[in-house]
Point group: C2
């Protein structure tokens, strides 16, 4: 393809709303163009890379017996009512009425549609296993879309759904997809991590996320030896109890703490370390009943862990100041567990404290020498904190290190959540009706595109992996008025075409400097410089984008050299 | 692909809402499945055929220098305001607010988005010509979706947009796309017609539609020699005037016509042919002013012709009875042009009448011996009727015949409608700012899929054209327990794979009758029957779906035979 025959316009400057390198580079290289916040057009270069990702995804799924379909973007309310997600999904699900006053949403995910699709078909034990997938536009009504394709509103997703007869078979399907994802992200050439993850509003009870490792990744990944988990769920080892030490419970005592409303203030004033102070937080459960959570002063509450511990559909909502006052008679900074008539959950790290300080449920007063049992009953102990670097992982016994990741894939074991709600049943070998076991598996195709730029760039521009680069070769033709050069170019074009190697020829009337700058910005794996000088010497310059290594290659060896580089 | 490894479920009966053969067959064969009215899932077979259509479309466009992009489904109101189409598009454009209260629509077409895309890029005369296309999901909020993919709400469309410097160059782009469409529909194997058409709400002033000819086509096509037009605009030759005959204007006379409100009643009562009676109809122009239109009693008014004659954006609205009364003092059945104070337009076929009958603008009375000029002024004469079979086409001087068609493609010359509204300008060779000339070009990809079934089926099922059949070959393996048969099958599969021929093997535990019936229903071009009997005789049955011709072929010749049939 010649540059002047296609539609590529590069920008020197990134727009003001582009915060991270990949967003800037995707815009500057003209791969994408913003239409509205979180909504983009894929221009030709971006689309070419996207299609290469799609191809890899399809090949790995087809190879494993997955069957491609195409489900609609617009979905009727009725299906979402069957699973109660019309309500549960919240404001991220974009809903609207059509001109006949029927309610629809834009598909943010397709569990309902796919379960409806198969429930009249998969009726016999002979029809299993089955895995159905699509690559389709999805929409999530993000409040603050940002980072380009990373957190967009309209995006392209591959979603697959498995249907099995038993839990064991469903686990096999899960494993197969897990392996497919490993293969896909390896083929793209990612440095990636697989972490245990929460199942969110999708439901189910097992899930892994696939993360591209990158400095500006939105997610924190907690890694400890072989174990890795999303920060959302990373478990923390309870401290060993101090049963061996004899602790004397001191006398409970109220003391004045005027204007000391934060843990930091309290620590400074009392001289007690933040980690040995106890803070009390208040939430509402699914029945709107309040409950309290005790944490060490330096810990952060983890709403996902609370949700899972209490088996809630969504993370619990925090009480506002007014509601806290109704429960405790005090403002949030002066609250504590003593005397409360609501359930009190305590983090494992609080469990080992004694004679600790809490709020007195009276503004500007705290209690010291507070102890479990004697002063209040703890409803249940658990792991409710956000893990921190250095915390011990209970799976490995080793401390966590933190990495940043971009979630590009997610596999879920769903169990019978959807099949049960939607009556997807089959007859087993004995003619007995059973509910189908499901799994679902997503790859953010457009996010994968940008993640690969986030992981592969330098100061000059994108460094596309060979696997998905819009074109494999960038030929800078420096003088299209030189007939000999054009003839040499045509010869190279012919040879590349015959070898099935895609390439872009920069045939614009621009200075060499501009062309080289754009070549670095667009970032195809191999650059070839075709100038009048080189041509006279019989050698052509070939540059490897990733290493910037330059090679001088005899004209007739150039296509072989390119092949060699692309295959290496 | 083996049937048991994919997801195909055929139906004996079509659902009640499927009215035309292609809709029934698409559902019965499992190519598509309804999710909501006008909204479907493409199951694997349907998707395979769809992808083959897309491939043909891409090849023909890429070959002609068109550049593929992917624009969003969700589009912001602001862009549509620039062209005033946020209002003009009416209720077919589905609009909604997102959670931040910003207004969006689901893309029904992409003129605004694409013009926005290029307006900052195409700034120099050197940047032309350019043609940008996409294949994307579109949504139109049809009141009554019907006929499956033929008139759906969510559908797949290829839309291309050309950008040129001058009218002449825009005409060349138009011609190139016209030829691309001819090539595309020829490669699919359609029997199709190209007709002149109205430009509708897209605007512009030249357009051709590509119609697949089929009995149940929604559109009537008027064909006269080399000329063909959509019924909406098909021009009608004015009758030759009777200037050579001396006509005596008789005395105007009011007469009672109690309860004669229809042309048919009036004709019976007066003995005057319907074609020589004159009816008066009332409409509202864009400024809400009423106007009257006179037609021969047996003609039907053509709102598109009125719209174009009066240069309106949309067809004019008819007055209701109350509004008619306000203008005329009478009910619609008793109205006429005499004494009206509003513009009166008269069809050419009325122009040659004299001494005719019209309503008296007094309920239950008519006037006879009415004549132009003497009794009322006609504002303008024109062609305002719906053409009928046998009417004379002014382009050819020959009578029209009527065919039914399914519109699968549409090319428009847009001129500067969008570029002007959206400020898409460039600097010409002399540094002068000029407005870009545009064209737009659509192919209903999903409609094309169903149109091919509508044109190619018989009583037993679909008869896919070779070009887009989901699979080329249907192998009925009648006994998968026969090891020799399986080994022969595997050999054929291997050879077909090596030849790049796609095939489906019906390996289900079903009776041969069931398999043959399904093979006919699915309708791939070639069927191969692999049964134990045939195997012993060393010959295999090969059936051509379209002709039902059966051939007995030696086993080792079978793949060559298939190749021969597919290439013929």
């Amino acid at each position: 393809m010649r540059w002047t025959d296609t539609h590529i316009f590069t920008l020197r400057e990134a727009p003001a709303d582009a915060e991270i390198p990949s967003h800037k580079l995707m815009i500057r290289s003209g791969c994408i163009k913003k239409v509205a916040p979180g909504i983009f057009t894929y221009q030709n270069l971006g689309l070419r890379a996207l299609r290469k990702i799609e191809k890899i995804v399809r090949e790995e799924l087809d190879k494993r017996g997955c069957i491609e379909v195409l489900m609609p973007v617009v979905q009727p309310r009725e299906l979402w009512e069957e699973t109660n997600r019309w309500k549960e999904m919240g404001a991220g699900l974009l809903k609207f009425k059509n001109r006949n006053d029927h309610e629809f949403c834009l598909g943010a995910t397709h569990e309902e549609v796919v379960t409806d699709l198969i429930r009249n078909d998969l009726k016999s034990y002979r029809d299993f296993p089955r895995n159905i997938y699509q690559i389709q536009t999805k929409y999530r009504d993000e409040i603050r879309p940002r980072f380009g394709l990373m957190r967009g509103r309209e995006f392209l997703m591959k979603d697959a759904y498995s249907f099995d007869r038993t839990v064991d078979e469903a686990q096999m399907s899960y494993k197969k997809m897990y392996e497919a994802y490993q293969a896909i992200f390896s083929r793209i050439g990612f440095d990636f991590a697989i972490v245990e993850a929460d199942t969110g509003s999708i439901g189910g009870n097992q899930s892994h996320e696939f993360h591209v490792l990158a400095e500006f990744g939105e997610d924190a990944l907690m890694i400890s030896g072989d174990f890795a988990a999303n920060l959302e769920i990373a478990p923390v080892q309870p401290p060993s109890s101090r049963d061996d030490i004899m602790i004397m419970a001191l006398e409970l005592e109220e003391f004045a703490t005027p204007n000391l409303r934060t843990i930091s203030d309290l620590s400074k004033s009392t001289g007690v370390k933040e980690s040995e102070l106890v803070k009390t937080m208040f939430f509402r459960d699914e029945k709107e009943k309040p409950f309290a959570v005790l944490l060490c002063g330096n810990d952060e509450v983890n709403p996902i862990k609370l949700k899972n511990f209490l088996k809630m559909a969504n993370p619990p909502e925090m009480l506002d100041d007014k509601a806290v006052f109704e429960v405790t008679g005090a403002s949030p900074g002066s609250c504590g567990p003593v005397g409360l008539k609501i359930p009190v959950y305590s983090d494992n790290r609080v469990a080992v404290l004694s004679n600790f300080i809490v709020g007195a449920n009276r503004d500007d007063f705290h209690l010291r020498n507070v102890n479990f049992k004697r002063d209040f009953e703890c409803t249940e102990f658990g792991d409710f904190v956000v893990a921190k670097e250095g915390d011990i992982c209970p799976e490995t016994g080793k401390p966590y290190t933190v990495r940043r990741g971009i979630e590009v894939g997610h596999v879920f074991y769903l169990g019978q959540k959807y099949s049960n709600a939607m009556g997807a049943k089959f007859l087993d070998e004995n003619g007995k009706s059973k509910t189908i076991e499901m799994g679902c598996y997503g790859i953010g195709v457009s996010r994968t595109l940008q993640a690969s730029v986030e992981q592969n760039h330098d100061d000059d521009g994108i460094v596309w992996p060979k696997s998905i680069s819009p074109y494999s070769v960038h030929i800078c033709a420096l003088d299209m008025k030189n007939a000999k050069l054009v003839s040499c170019l045509e010869n190279i074009e012919k040879n590349l075409n015959e070898s099935g190697i895609d390439f872009l020829v920069d045939d614009r009337k621009e200075r060499p400097g501009v062309k080289f700058k754009d070549a670095d910005l667009l970032g195809f794996p191999v650059r070839v410089t075709l100038g009048s000088k080189g041509l006279e010497s019989g050698e052509i310059e070939v540059v490897i984008r990733s290493s910037k290594e330059k090679r001088s290659v005899p004209i007739d060896r150039v296509v072989d050299e390119i092949k060699g580089i692309l295959e290496s």
